[in-house]
Amino acid sequence: MSRSEGSGGGRRRVLQVKFVPDEEVLKHIADDTGIKVRKDKPQPSISLKRFVKKLENISDDEPQEILEEKNYVATLGICTQDPMGNGTSVSGGEVYSFQAPKRSSKMAELASELAHTPEQSVAPDHSKGPGKTAKTPQSSKHSSSNKEQLRSKKKEFVSTTPYRLRKRLAAPDSCLESESEYSASCSEEEDEEDQQEVSTVLSGQKTPAKTKAAPTPPPRNSLAKKNKEEKMSNLMEEYFEAHSSSKVLTSDRTLQKLRKRRLNQETLRDLLTKAPLAYAAEIKELNQQHESLFSKWMLQLHLGFNIVLYGLGSKRDLLEKFRTSLLQDSVHLVVNGYFPSITVRSILNSITEEVLDHIGTFRSPLDQLEFITKRFKEDPSLELYVLIHNLDSQMLRGERSQQILAQLSSLPSIYLIASIDHINAPLMWDQAKLSLYNWLWYETTTFSPYVEETSYENSLLVQQSGSLALSSLTHVLRSLTPNARGIFRLLAQYQLEKKDNPSYPGLSFQDFYQQCREAFLVNSDLTLRAQLTEFRDHKLIRTKRGADGVEYLLIPVDDSTLTDFLENQDEDA
């Protein structure tokens, strides 16, 4: 839970201490006193406490409170060896801290770096080759050979930086280029609102820049060897740099320009089943470790605890295995939290209707809960195991839902075992809910893909709405008059003609009226307006007013669907 990561400023300071020990402190000592210090790391047998004390004696600039909190961290046993190998050796604030400025090309750099990291002795140019050539034709539609050249050139100058960062990173020669390259991309202004949104997500971490944890400098950064103070001021600068600009510095490329833009759900699934699962053996081993705990879970459930599983990887299969191996002979309820229309109501309904065989409805979930509580208290032989996959899903994470589930789980004869995945999931629970849930936490990192959990999601890259929108379009259009169909067709054709223009605002009403008249589809702008109102009611079109007050009409469907639609229409006709 987030408790141990802490979000207070004080805790973040701890990190600095935590972060420092191995080399920095020794370096620091060596610099200060000029005495040659042995480079060996503190023996594990020396308790951290004592080590910190040593540190106190040497450097006076470390404030006392840090030491105390350090003690706290030490006593909480972060340094203790863990047989299960939980990944808790990292202290909290190293994990997620502030936003720092990033250069726009860093991802490509890292990619090429990662591509060569291991022993493979491929020349840089060579291995960059295949990746490139595989991609170039896809964007060639836009006569981008020139641009492509520029891009590759940019990749050679490893650090392309906006001029604002020039003083921090010395790569002045490529500045002008990067400016021209990204001039278009700067066009998008990030509005204040969204910034707000981002910062609310981070709200727990909004503390003055000074307490920011030091991000590890990238390995090739020559500035890595910096004095601590300098680093501090640099961090501050970085913080304000990152937050001062409202521009988005990313390239303008879109998926539209790639040849294979979107895959639909089925092809995606097919492709993924074809791709072999990496590290199957190791994952199996991990799972076996977790499965050995099943009987312990049962015991602890029976003793009044509830169990929550966390860690990377889908825990669905694990829970399913638990269910099929141990719960076969008892009444149990499985809740797919990731199901898009799951509600607490439906969970309660399945308990009252199917488990308790009650017929009738309830005024509110609270009444229903009361009923369930009463029934379970009356009949001690009644037992129910509840398995919830993704307790932290979009639909269940609300305060009220969690309250009800917590109360449900606090009943002695209801045994809850749930999984969470979202990094902020523990924030759902306050002390009161936590004590109702009475959790025992189990780390079950499985590394298995979230197949089921993400299958419902409206993923960015998956073409999902396509087929649905197409069928609805044809369906609605079929019920219209031929004239109306013609009007819509005109608009669609016009929109397709302009599809290469990213700043296409839509067709203005006057132009559209003109075109319709020419095609003998309407005889007055009133009839057109009436028709458009009907379209709008069916959400076939959208209108928006431009800066000059002109009304623009747009079909809110992506171009490929529109093309398909027009083709279908042609076949019908």
Partner: protein, 724 residues
């Protein structure tokens, strides 16, 4: 949702139409009550002991539970008595209609008790339960417990209130007119007047009832007050509270209403929540419950520093529990929960815990140990240490003869019990000394001292050294009272070894008394010198005499008192060295002391974000594959897709271009799969990589690292920062 999956016979839980699946095995197959002990045994081979272990565990836990409840009850007693007095005062006023009462009626004041309970909200439930039980048994059947979450509006509040009051009426009275109440509850309009009507009818009924029926209410007062408890006053909306109070004050002369506010912060909150016009309608009396810190101290005192329970906590475990308490929640309930987990964990994971029982049962259990269990004993590190210290003949016997081992084990365990008893007594004595020293070098609370003593040999620490120094400077009266306290502690302890110690302390005390007599004689000398001082008015002479005095004092030998003081401190020191040996130096401590703090911390104070972070940044931690091994912050290009995608996204700012991301990803993956890149058709390869990328991105979205953004086409927004 009507189709029952089990009825269909298929057990699948994947569906696109529903999210809840109920499985009901046919009744004949269903085990009615699965024995919990069954779960206990699956893991271990020594099945003969699991049953016994489980029974021991359960009985121990039940003992501890009842003990904690008793402690809680004792601590609440004061509070409850005060409440009782408060209620009875108002009640008698109401009955007798005294002048005070009429005066209060004129101002329409509602008697109100404000319970200041402290920030440990999770413990409040227990307190309220005992309060309401107490009131129910002794004063009035009419109690309503309201929580803020049930009362978003005044209407809900009234509904809840009347529901609870009328239900309790049913509970107290016979069930014959249940129907009447059931109906009325649904139909009655939620208003104060109906509540009053109900109250009148109820009180009249009990008054006119036959004596035989009256026995149920006999403990209650005549026309008992209606008590409304607001569990979490701070969370109620101001408006609801205000309205309720104003309405009630209008009817206070008809309905003997008493409010109880549960307050977590400070009493000031009443005035902050309610305007003066409303708070003036309340006649508030403040009640303070015991602070959670004191509660914890009592619990530790009763559970850990006692010879009553064979099970003990090791240093690290105790430290973890205390830290969770102090740094996270101040919740005594959670502490007890942690303690329960320790017990379960100990009995579950340590097969020898079967010997963790009362001394009376020990002999039988030791003698019924199987050969495997004997081997388990021989494997214990502390036992091996012990064996090495023995002479060779005994060594062989210990390692080969089971019966001899059993004898020895029993002896050692009995020693361990005795050790613990003595330990506790001496610890308390030491605490008497250290708790009065300035700056508390060894801690103010006995739990801190306890942890220090368990951690390592306390007499080797600097803190101990400095506290001895300070103890050598104590004055006589303090020293005498401390010695007396120590004597009481040692006398009350059941250990037999302390007879001599008590004798010795007695001797010290008498010597101190003798000193007093001697001091009288010495006093004359000093007084005379004092007089001399007063006589001189000359500054030069004054200085001179003072210097002389100082000289004489320095050169003088230690006074008798000082000598005695040294002796006392040295004696205490010797006691400490003898009895406060850390538990993990004792042979067979593994059987009685639970010391796996990491497990406890993992279950109670988990860090899911850190686990995610590690899995994404350093997959080798979990997947022990050589290909994944990488030093420093980087990861191999053969890492799982999600790790690569995560690593790449760390290099971006607020927004991430999906196309760039995809391209970077495919660059990395292609490099990782170099060998067969030529063989497979690159087109298909591309598709697969694309699909893998999609999967990894949507997984990151599920984990909350990114979210879709409308700011720019084909961009996602990043939600976390920092790290690598």
């Amino acid at each position: 949702m009507s189709d029952n999956a089990a009825a269909r016979g298929d057990m699948s839980t994947c569906s696109v139409s529903k999210g809840c699946f109920v499985f009901k095995p046919s009744t004949k197959k269903r085990k009615l009550s699965q024995s919990t002990a069954h779960d206990f045994g699956i893991r271990n081979d020594d099945s003969e002991d699991t049953e016994l272990r489980f029974v021991t565990c359960q009985s121990l836990w039940n003992q501890i539970k009842s003990e904690t409840e008793k402690v809680q009850e004792d601590l609440n007693k004061q509070l409850l008595d005060n409440l009782m007095n408060f209620l009875s005062r108002f009640h008698s006023e109401f009955q007798e209609k005294t002048a005070e009462w009429t005066c209060r009626m004129k101002f329409r004041e509602i008697p109100t008790a404000a319970l200041v309970l402290g920030v440990n909200v999770t413990d409040h439930d227990l307190t309220f339960r005992s309060v309401s039980d107490f009131l129910q048994n002794n004063i009035t059947p009419y109690i309503a417990l309201l929580e803020a979450k049930d009362c978003p509006g005044i209407k809900n509040l009234m509904q809840k209130l009347m529901g609870q009051l009328m239900n309790c009426y049913v509970d107290v009275d016979s069930l014959e007119d249940e129907d009447y109440v059931q109906v009325s509850q649904n139909r009655i309009r939620c208003s104060m007047s109906s509540l009053i009507k109900w109250y009148e009818s109820v009180t009249k009924k009990t008054d006119s009832e036959t004596p035989s029926k009256k026995r149920t209410t006999s403990t209650h007062w005549q026309s008992p007050p209606v008590v409304v408890i607001f569990k979490d006053m701070e969370s109620f909306t101001t408006k609801v509270l205000q309205d309720f109070i104003v309405i009630c004050s209008q009817h206070i002369h008809e309905l003997p209403l008493v409010l109880i506010f549960g307050i977590a912060t400070s009493p000031m909150i009443i005035h902050r929540l309610l305007p003066h016009s409303v708070s003036s309608l309340l006649c508030i009396e403040l009640f303070q419950s015991l602070s959670c810190k004191d509660h914890l101290s009592t619990i530790i005192d009763k559970l850990l520093l006692t010879a009553q329970f064979p099970f003990k906590l090791g240093e690290k475990v105790l430290q973890v529990l205390i830290n969770i308490f102090l740094y996270h929640d101040f919740s005594v309930q959670n502490f007890i929960k942690g303690f329960q987990l320790c017990i379960v964990e100990h009995f579950y994971s340590q097969p020898l815990s079967v010997l963790c029982c009362q001394l009376a049962d020990l002999q039988k259990r030791v003698h019924s140990l199987s050969h495997d269990q004997c081997e388990n004993i021989r494997r214990l590190p502390s036992f091996r240490r012990y064996v090495e210290e023995q002479e060779s003949g005994k060594q062989v016997a210990l390692l080969t003869t089971d019966n001899f081992l059993k004898e020895e084990t029993q002896k050692l365990l009995e020693d361990l019990h005795v050790y613990h008893e003595n330990y506790v007594s001496v610890l308390r004595c030491l605490h008497v000394f250290t708790s009065s020293l300035p700056k508390y070098p060894l801690g103010k609370q006995i739990r801190e001292l306890h942890c220090a003593c368990l951690e390592n040999q306390v007499w080797e620490t600097e803190e101990y050294e400095s506290s001895l120094q300070l103890a050598r400077m104590l004055n006589k009266s303090d020293l005498v009272t401390m010695l007396q306290q120590c004597m009481e502690i040692l006398l009350s302890s059941s250990g037999k070894e302390f007879d001599k110690t008590v004798e010795k302390l007695k001797k010290f005390l008498t010597e101190f008394e003798n000193l007093e007599a001697e001091a009288f004689q010495e006093q004359d000398v000093s007084i005379s010198s004092q007089k001399e001082l007063q006589k001189k008015t000359d500054l030069y002479h004054l200085q001179k005499t003072l210097l002389e005095l100082k000289e004489s004092r320095r050169s003088k030998k230690l006074t008798k008192f000082e000598m005695l003081r040294f002796e006392v401190v040295d004696y205490i020191d010797s006691l400490v060295r003898k009895y406060l040996v850390p538990a993990d130096r004792r042979t067979l401590h593994e059987i009685l002391y639970f010391n796996t703090a990491a497990v406890l911390r993992g279950h109670l104070n988990a860090a899911p974000r850190t686990a995610l972070h590690t899995a994404l940044n350093n997959p080798h931690w979990y997947l022990k594959n050589q290909a994944l091994k990488c030093d420093g912050g980087s990861i191999s290009n053969k890492a799982p897709d999600i790790c690569i995608v995560y690593k790449l996204h760390l290099e971006c700012g607020r927004l991430i271009n999906l196309v760039d991301w995809l391209e970077a990803f495919s660059t990395v993956v292609m490099a990782g799969e170099e060998p067969n890149a030529d063989t497979a058709s690159s087109d298909q390869m591309d598709d697969i990589i694309h699909a893998r990328f999609i999967r990894a991105v949507s997984e990151l979205e599920l984990l909350g690292f990114i979210k879709p953004s409308k700011q720019k086409t084909d961009h996602v927004a990043r939600l976390t920062w920092g790290g690598c």
